[in-house]
């Protein structure tokens, strides 16, 4: 049973991690807690089923398309809601982010309705839906393996982009010191747009995976996921991409084990308790660096 709980927790944790990296990247670059990120995740899921149902696009191209759309939406949100406030006090941008989040949620309710909607079962390959592998005492479904594979691939890709590409180097430079980065000839706005696009497309994948896994998506799903991913990002050390990945997995496993062994009534509480404990002991999070305020 323990192994089974661990695997289930891992599935949940990897999805949290995928959303959390979007949060943490934006924070790393412009120090904004982007509360609208949870809504991007929700939009990703809805766009994907809309492409499948209304346009008859197969699953994988639909995923790619909704990633592209969410990337564009992320960039668009930054342009109209956050960019004009770049020089304003940070609180203004934070409040704007909450406003954007509420706005997107309501738009989704107008378009797709307020009831939960099933994911398009027919579009999901049968291998995922019905295959169950038994490894000792553990049942792992094809879909869970798919989630492991996709999330791992995404995170490896992300790590490569951040560490091996020019734009990744620019992102890291910006995270360290935006003024110096600009002086070195980095196009700050373009890098920020790229960060939003990257984070939002990962958020979209997370939304789609959750939709496939639970077979339910709803206009309000972004809020809870957003809070969890935020907690994961803080747990890992906000601003740190590997930290967000680790934080997501730790949070997912902690919640699952907590619900399995302690009490299901306190599952959310237990997840946050772990977060609080870590922050009390390591204020910068698991993998965060304790650096002074940015100049």
């Amino acid at each position: 049973m323990f192994e089974q709980q661990l695997f289930n927790g891992l599935t949940l944790g990897l999805i949290y991690a995928l959303i959390a990296v979007g949060y943490t990247m934006v924070y790393g670059v412009i120090e904004l807690i982007n509360f609208a990120h949870g809504e991007i995740y929700m939009l990703g899921a809805f766009l994907c089923i809309t492409f499948i149902q209304a346009l008859g696009i197969p699953l994988f191209p639909a995923i790619a398309l909704s990633m592209a759309c969410c990337a564009a939406i992320g960039v668009f949100i930054d342009r109209i809601a956050y960019k004009p406030l770049r020089k304003a006090p940070r609180l203004a941008a934070l409040i704007t982010a909450i406003g954007v989040s509420i706005f997107l949620q309501n738009i989704a309710m107008i378009i797709w309705g307020s009831r939960p909607v099933p994911f398009v079962r027919a579009a999901v390959p049968k291998v995922f839906g019905e295959t169950v592998f038994t490894l000792g005492s553990v049942n792992v479904s094809g879909l869970q393996l798919f989630i492991y594979a996709v999330t791992t691939a995404m995170m490896v890709g992300l790590t490569l982009i951040i560490n091996k590409t020019k734009v990744g180097t620019a992102m890291r430079a910006l995270a360290q010191n935006p003024v110096s980065a600009a002086l070195m000839g980095i196009n700050v706005d373009r890098v920020i747009s790229f960060t939003f696009a990257l984070g939002s497309s990962l958020g979209a994948v997370a939304g789609i995976l959750v939709g496939m896994y639970y077979n339910t998506i709803s206009a309000t799903m972004g809020y809870n996921a957003g809070v969890k991913a935020f907690a994961a990002a803080v747990l890992g050390g906000i601003g740190s991409v590997p930290g967000a990945m680790l934080g997501g997995v730790v949070l997912g496993v902690a919640e699952t084990l907590g619900a399995g062994y302690v009490s299901s009534q306190y599952r959310d509480g237990l997840g946050y308790a772990v977060m609080i404990a870590v922050i009390l002991l390591r204020p910068s999070g698991l993998l965060g660096k304790s650096v002074g305020q940015k100049a």
Binding site: Q5, Y214, N224, Q265
Partner: protein, 386 residues
């Protein structure tokens, strides 16, 4: 000059309209129908609206009540207690509204009730099942102003415990309950009766509404091999529990009350929804000939299958209108009339069977069991009448 002329015409028209309204007002009797028309519960509200509308149309087609047409005035309270309290004040203050068919949600009904007690207007809910309503419907003089033609949550819990043990002979059951008034009330009643029936409860798992992941609880329960899952909650989470249980290899029958009773449950749970048993106060297949006529007319009018909420709302509107036709459009007298329907002999004969109230305004309604089979609701093979 032109402007003056226009003004005169406008004034004349306004006067004409006002007179017209006066004449009209004298010709209609209004009843209030507070129900969610927008928001997450709007789907349910629509069902209630359909039932009430059908009853009123039928009465008006026969010439109305004592020569006057009946008119329903709908109030949107979004199933939200705060909105319901506001709407309740409005309804209580409008003396033209003779009686109330509503509210739909228990929380909304409880929130609006104090207004109705104070103003002295009777409310008959077709759908609110919460236990607390029984105690909150009386004014200082001990008169009941709140009625309902639906059974209570605890009745459903007890009924399901009996059904599992006596009709299906199950022995080991796991319980999932929403951490809300509804879920806890239902679960408590179920557990008490289940223990009396000798059912073994393996696992009592609470969850927050809007949760999506139930695998930890299900994994834990799976080791104890329950023969059935009882889900005391709503369909959004219930369908996920069913689906995840099946994915973990637990293909057992599921049981639930009215909270699971929604076509969306089947849509969301997919094949895992099969073998779910639900209590319902109205089963089209076992209903009498009058009900059959209602079902056919409903389908023709709304292009969808009838649901229990519409049937209950149809009867609730019927009772209120009957009261008005007997005692006239008087708030206090309507209440007296409804309160006097207190024995089986005096019961109102509607399409959902005989309805009569106890001194708390609660009715005793039989429950039927329906189940999901092949992705559709069908009557369960075994029914149980108490």
């Amino acid at each position: 000059m032109k402007f003056k002329h226009g003004l005169v015409v406008a004034l004349a028209m306004a006067a004409f309209l006002a007179v017209g309204n006066l004449v009209l007002a004298a010709d209609v009797i209004k009843i209030a129908v507070p129900t969610p028309l927008t928001g997450p519960a709007a789907g349910y509200g629509d069902n209630v609206k359909a039932g009430v509308a059908m009853k009123i149309e039928e009465i008006n087609a026969k010439g109305g009540v004592n020569g006057k047409k009946i008119e329903a005035v709908y109030f949107d309270e979004q199933c939200d207690p705060k909105e319901a309290a506001t709407v309740g004040t409005k309804i209580a203050g409008d003396k033209d509204l003779v009686a109330i068919v509503g509210h739909l949600c228990s929380g909304a009904h409880l929130a609006a009730l104090p207004n109705y007690l104070r103003a002295g207007v009777a409310a008959l809910s077709p759908t609110a099942t919460n236990v607390n309503i029984s105690e909150k419907g009386k004014d200082a003089k001990g008169q009941t102003w709140s009625f309902r033609n639906v059974y209570r949550d605890d009745f459903q819990g007890v009924f399901l415990a009996d059904y599992m043990a006596k009709a299906l002979g199950l022995k080991k059951v796991a319980v999932f309950f929403a951490n809300s008034d509804y879920g806890i009330g239902l679960k408590d009643a179920f557990l008490k009766q289940a223990k009396a029936n000798g059912l073994t409860i393996v696992g009592e798992e609470a969850y927050q509404e809007k949760s999506t992941d139930f695998t930890p609880q299900l994994t834990k329960i799976k080791g104890m091999a329950p023969e059935a899952l009882f889900i005391a909650g709503y369909y959004a989470e219930g369908s996920l529990i069913a689906d995840q249980a099946k994915k973990l290899g637990m293909d057992v029958p599921k049981f639930g009350a009215d909270g699971l009773d929604n076509a969306d449950y089947i849509k969301l749970a997919g094949p895992a929804g099969d073998n779910t048993y639900l209590t319902t106060p109205f089963l089209a297949e076992t209903a009498g000939p009058e009900a059959k006529a209602f079902i056919d007319a409903y389908k023709a009018k709304f292009k969808r299958d009838v649901d229990w909420m519409s049937a209950n709302a149809y009867d609730a509107a019927g009772m209120v209108i009957e009261a008005i036709s007997k005692v006239g459009p008087d708030r206090a007298k309507v209440r007296e009339y409804l309160a006097a329907i207190n024995t089986k002999d005096k019961a109102y004969k509607g399409i959902t069977g005989l309805t009569y109230f106890n001194d708390k305004g609660d009715c005793e309604k039989p429950a039927y069991v329906k189940m999901v089979k092949g992705g559709q609701f069908v009557p369960a093979e075994k029914q149980m009448t108490k």
